[in-house]
């Protein structure tokens, strides 16, 4: 399991006997901010993290490696279907798809309740209204949890033929 930045910071503070107030004085970062970093209430960047670690005699090493995301069967199927469509998405194709997408958005507006579905639906609407092809591709192929959840209220139905769709699903099985 990945260790969070707050946990790592806490570990280094404990091992070096550094209190929040000491770290605040040395780094110039406000103590409440450090407290929020530690509790996970506030995200902080690698740069900010490195700055705090350097005050305690450490540097941040970031290891980059590709990992296979943990997805449910349906999340993986949905990603494959959207990836197929993303390969065809251009400014021109988006214009052709608009009537279908807008019909789907109307259906979704009537059919979903609660959060985050309604919020995610609004995000789709903004992306479509702004003809944000790059943003749409990101949602259609990304693995951040909020992108996976956006695909649960996707307006991209009806754009693949049934044969194309089944071919994609075969690859997922």
């Amino acid at each position: 399991m990945a260790v969070g930045r707050g946990d790592l910071l806490r570990e280094v503070m404990l091992s070096t006997g550094t209190t929040q107030s000491m770290l605040s004085r040395i780094s110039g970062v406000h103590q409440p901010s450090i407290s929020q970093f530690l509790s996970g209430r506030v995200e902080f960047s690698d740069e900010q993290f490195d700055r705090l670690l350097s005050c305690m005699g450490f540097r941040l090493e970031v290891v980059r490696r590709p990992v296979v995301p943990e997805l449910t069967r349906s999340e993986r199927r949905s990603w494959l279907l959207h990836r197929k469509l993303s390969g065809r998405l251009t400014r021109e194709s988006l214009e052709e798809w608009l009537p279908t997408i807008e019909r789907n958005l109307r259906r979704l507006r009537d059919g979903v309740t609660g959060q985050p579905h309604k919020r995610n639906l609004r995000r789709w609407i903004v992306l479509v209204d702004e003809r944000d092809v790059v943003g749409l591709k990101r949602v259609m192929t990304g693995f951040d949890r909020d992108l996976i959840e956006m695909r649960e209220v996707s307006p991209m139905g009806g754009l693949l033929t049934e044969d194309e769709r089944l071919e994609v699903l075969e690859g997922a099985a």
Partner: protein, 179 residues
Amino acid sequence: MSTRSVRPASSSATRRSSSSVRSILGTFGEEQLPADATMSIEVDILPIADDNDETARLADLIEGVAGEFSLFEQLHGFSIDGVDLETSALPAGWRDRLVKVQNANTAAPSGEPRFTGWCLDKHDLCVAKLCAFREKDLNFVAALLTAGPVRQDVIAERLPTVAERYREAVVRALGWLAS
């Protein structure tokens, strides 16, 4: 588990049924549910088979016919997602508490036969959602707790009975319930 609710069905019902109620709707009418209870336009169906490989195979078949982006979805306005036993954390005894649904909505277009759908018990559904612990899951359970259809003590009692591999999720869920 996704925001959609798992709706177990017997293998025969899975082959023949196209009932569209969601799991919580096996217990409550839509008008009885709080507006904040999160629901999408997908219905999860768990085919009951002898082992999970067969369940997964049936789930894929369901997906092919009526899943995301299918003609079925375009026609009916919702899709059916075939899920397997690994999809969600279910408390011990969930099969004995399934809620039978058999009415005009589960009938063939001609009115006969009336197929049978089996929905998760409302508290078992909340257990599964709390183990998943996503925003939509918490919102769903919070809305039901606030509105009154489910009892916190029953959920808390059943949470520890899920499979051992969900132990951390149970601790987190119990913490959330107590907060």
